[in-house]
């Protein structure tokens, strides 16, 4: 499969996007006039230091927050509320502890008014996709961090989402599980080829997964660097040890350190 996005259709457009929160002393400027676009089928990583407003940006895309000024458009229409074809994976798996794996994945369908009987096949497919066969009736308390995040990914995709938003999904996992989950995500994304936005502060995670990386400055965040990742897909584990990878990583590293 080719590495470049299949089309150049623009899915998401942000223009002069600014967000201001009431802060302890007056106002807290979080995002400062961001302008960027995301193409159909693109995997975009948003990279930046902690607390720079990456998550705020994601919440704007999710329709959970409205911009203070500027606009953010999804397929030409302003995002005012959560859209039906957006799936979100949160920082922590954010599962309902009283629901089993099956019931957690079924939740979006239940909210959409689909009965469990009608959902059986769809849920089964998702469980198979994320590799959780046999854990259908397990409660979140008995899942490892990585497994819980698999459930969260399945839950985000079950609505046939065409925009997947990931908010530092693997931040709380240990290093080895994290690597494993990054490849899981890569595999799942390659099977679905939907537009994905990943917020992360891990340089290697961004390079490994993304077609393009936006580097944000510290608050108030602006776009410091918009970097294409021209590495071939499907990407393999040993990509980390290639000179191309190292070159990109050092570029990103310099860009981030410059502003701290």
């Amino acid at each position: 499969m080719n590495s470049s996005p299949e089309t150049n259709t623009e899915v998401l457009l942000a223009r002069n996007l600014s967000t201001v929160f009431p802060g302890p002393d007056g106002i807290l400027r979080v995002l400062n006039k961001l302008t960027f676009r995301i193409r159909e089928g693109e995997f975009l990583a948003v990279l930046g230091p902690s607390g720079c407003g990456k998550s705020t940006l994601l919440r704007l895309m999710a329709g959970l927050l409205r911009p203070t000024s500027g606009e953010i458009l999804y397929r030409g229409l302003p995002i005012r509320e959560p859209l039906p074809d957006t799936g979100i994976v949160f920082q922590k798996a954010n599962l309902m502890p009283w629901r089993t794996v099956w019931e957690n994945i079924f939740l979006p369908l239940e909210v959409a008014g689909i009965t469990p009987q009608e959902s059986k096949e769809r849920v089964r497919q998702m469980i198979e996709l994320v590799g959780l066969e046999g854990f259908e009736n397990t409660l979140p308390r008995d899942l490892s961090g990585g497994m819980a995040q698999r459930v969260a990914i399945a839950r985000a995709l079950i609505n046939n989402a065409s925009l997947l938003l990931l908010d530092e999904p693997f931040g709380s996992l240990d290093a080895l599980t994290r690597e494993q989950m990054e490849f899981e995500l890569l595999r799942i994304w390659q099977a679905h080829r939907i537009t994905a936005v990943l917020v992360t502060h891990s340089i290697s995670e961004a390079i490994l997964l993304a077609d393009r990386i936006l580097v944000l400055t510290p608050r108030p965040a602006q776009i410091q660097l918009d970097l294409e990742v021209n590495l071939p897909r499907p990407r393999q584990q040993n990509l980390r040890y290639t000179p191309e990878f190292a070159y990109l990583a050092s570029q990103l590293h310099t860009a981030i350190l410059e502003r701290i």
């Binding site: 999710a62 502890p97 629901r99 909210v111 959409a112």
Partner: protein, 277 residues
């Protein structure tokens, strides 16, 4: 729904009680009765001051056989259950309203807090005067006494719903009813059950207070009768029945918790007083 619930869960919870406790609890009861018998025998107190275990046991069977104990227990139990139910229902509904609307909370919270400053024993006579004779005043006292803990626990429970899960429901475009049913109720349930446990014990106290003030039936009334007739054994019988009732109610709440909060992590040892989380 698990239709086999009471038996299954009871068995499970029994298994959770350590074997040690199964031995210790009867032993401690036995020791208590023994000490009581010793005090009764060697203190020389007359039976109308301190009856012995044997006399109370006989009085108990007497009251059971003439049907009076069951009749009075039934009355008190009805007051407690109806009062607990109504109090819990109104308190949790109002708690939901207060959690949802800061404006309502600001207007009502002074009254709610002040209502807690009124000793229920002090206003019980008023309620008995104002309400028609029968169970009404006792039910109201029960409802009032369970109201506050359940209201507060509803409020705390709803506030403890994680913001991330609220965001999740919003992102799924869930409506208010779906958010209530699928998120708020299950998330608030553990804390709500905590309020219900306290409420169950308090409701029994409420019923007895009401019956003391003015009643012609119920276990509180039975205590008054026993005292008036120097039938101290009867007082003991009524007191033990009340203790048993409160324990049974508490046990029912714990069984409900085990059924509805199965998803919670529990230690294999269930402590009688406080759940170890």
């Amino acid at each position: 729904m698990d239709l086999t619930f009471p038996g299954k869960v009871a068995r499970k919870s029994l298994r959770r009680l350590r074997r040690q406790e199964i031995v210790v609890i009867p032993l401690s009861i036995l020791l208590f009765v023994f000490l009581w018998e010793m005090i009764h025998r060697f203190s020389g107190l007359p039976a109308f001051i301190l009856p012995g275990p044997q006399q109370v046991w006989l009085r108990f069977w007497g009251a059971v056989l003439d049907g009076s104990l069951l009749r009075h227990t039934w009355v008190t139990l009805a007051e407690v259950l109806i009062g607990l139910f109504l109090g819990a229902l109104i308190a949790s509904a109002l708690g939901y309203l207060l959690a949802k609307s800061p404006t309502i909370e600001r207007w009502l919270s002074p009254y709610i807090v002040a209502s807690q400053a009124i000793p229920i024993v002090a206003i019980a006579p008023l309620l008995v005067i104002w309400l028609p004779t029968g169970l009404y005043s006792k039910i109201l006292i029960c409802a009032l006494i369970v109201f506050f803990p359940i209201l507060i626990n509803t409020l705390i429970g709803l506030r403890s719903v994680p913001d991330d899960l609220r965001d999740l429901m919003r992102s799924l475009r869930a409506n208010r009813w779906q958010t209530f049913r699928l998120l708020e109720v299950p998330a608030a349930l553990p804390v709500l059950f905590g309020g219900l446990r306290i409420g169950a014990a308090l409701a029994v106290i409420g019923a007895v207070v009401g019956e003391f003030v003015g009643a012609d039936r119920g276990l509180g009334f039975l205590i008054n009768v026993g005292r008036g007739q120097f039938d101290t054994s009867l007082v003991f019988v009524a007191v033990f029945s009340l203790i048993f009732m409160a324990l049974a109610l508490y046990g029912v709440v714990i069984l409900l918790e085990l059924r509805f909060l199965r998803w919670q992590k529990r230690n294999d040892q269930t402590d009688l007083l406080v759940e170890k989380r």
